[in-house]
Symmetry: C2
Subunit: 211 residues, 2 copies
């Protein structure tokens, strides 16, 4: 499949690109720095240098799948890119948009949202805007019924790590065998590519945990 990855040189984007290449997909890295992408992926991908927030339907319509792995310290840009992509693909069912959300919109064992705990424990921290905006992004996506989209959330701990095996869930925090809410970037990339190849969550968010 033709897969475009926005933010391909980021921590998560890199693993998605590598996993997609290893499965024989035709991958395009959409990035701010051509040099970084070239040094990471060599000639295994096509590289497009373009700011995420300037992308249009024309730039992206060639792809079967557009993965939004964009990350920005201006947290509101996560919401802005999501709405830009959704608006561009209204009533176009030839491309699926795949959004990588945070874990903050997942439900905890007591039924509250992880964001509630984050806000309580970290009020005033500058990074708090990222989980806040990612919850907005998920709320926004749930309004969208005429675009093909899918979203994936990692777990509370989301760190570089090897591909092992994984389990998926829907809206709840999940625990690995050690009782931790944890998923590796490689397992998330693997779950994301499995979903791209065999879609089961059209217009839904799902989550993934290390097995």
């Amino acid at each position: 499949m033709k897969i475009g990855v926005i933010g391909a040189t980021g921590r998560t984007g890199q693993e998605i690109v590598k996993e997609a290449i290893s499965r024989g997909h035709e991958v395009t890295a959409i990035v701010r720095s051509k040099d970084k992408a070239a040094s990471l992926f060599g000639n295994q991908v096509t590289i497009i240098k373009q700011g995420a927030l300037t992308l249009t339907h024309d730039d992206l319509s060639e792809f079967d799948e557009v993965v939004d792995a964009f990350a920005s310290p201006q947290a509101y840009q996560h919401l802005d890119l999501a709405s830009r992509l959704i608006s561009a693909f209204r009533n176009d069912d030839t491309t699926n948009l795949f959004f990588i959300l945070g874990a903050s919109s997942l439900k905890q064992a007591d039924g509250t949202m992880m964001l509630d705990t984050i806000l309580k424990d970290n009020a005033g921290q500058p990074w708090i805007q990222t989980p806040v905006q990612q919850v907005h992004e998920y709320n926004y996506l749930q309004w969208i019924d005429n675009v093909n989209w899918t979203a994936i959330s990692p777990q509370a701990t989301f760190t570089p790590g090897p591909k092992t095996t994984y389990r998926i869930g829907k809206d709840e925090i999940l625990l690995n065998k050690a009782g931790k809410s944890e998923v590796s970037t490689e397992n998330l990339a693997s779950a994301l590519l499995d979903e791209i190849e065999q879609p089961k969550h059209l217009r839904q968010r799902f989550t993934v945990v290390d097995d």
Copy 2:
């Protein structure tokens, strides 16, 4: 002030343009049809012919106030235009964005939202998407803290009518002296221009009823 009105030839847009002209503002009509705008407003306004969903910061940054009076049978475009304008004006506090919402997000006497009643009484009607999307639009706006925006909702009945006197409120359905939730387009235009000239609702929605 320099005021740009998107959807200036629509039912509400027309009244806003006329009210703004009568108060001596420098008005630009941003429209799909130059002819219709010229026949309505003569040479009293500058006319820009451009699709609302292609507008950029460069197109609009000259204005002190951008009024979104856009209406579309594709109801999701209300949300798309709002997110497009917000994204364009992030961290720009030289322009205020003024959104005209529906009444569907107002609260009824029993505390429920007007949309709840609309959905119950009109399930399956094709026009139901308009109040649904306007509620999304208001929910979306409430997430936005780094753009100057204001929103106004009419009442349940919103029809052409003369400028008389009006009262304003915040989130509740209001009643006129006859006990009706009703506001004329001219009174809404008058309330909107009063707010532009003396802002009291930065990053808030307010509502207006015939007195």
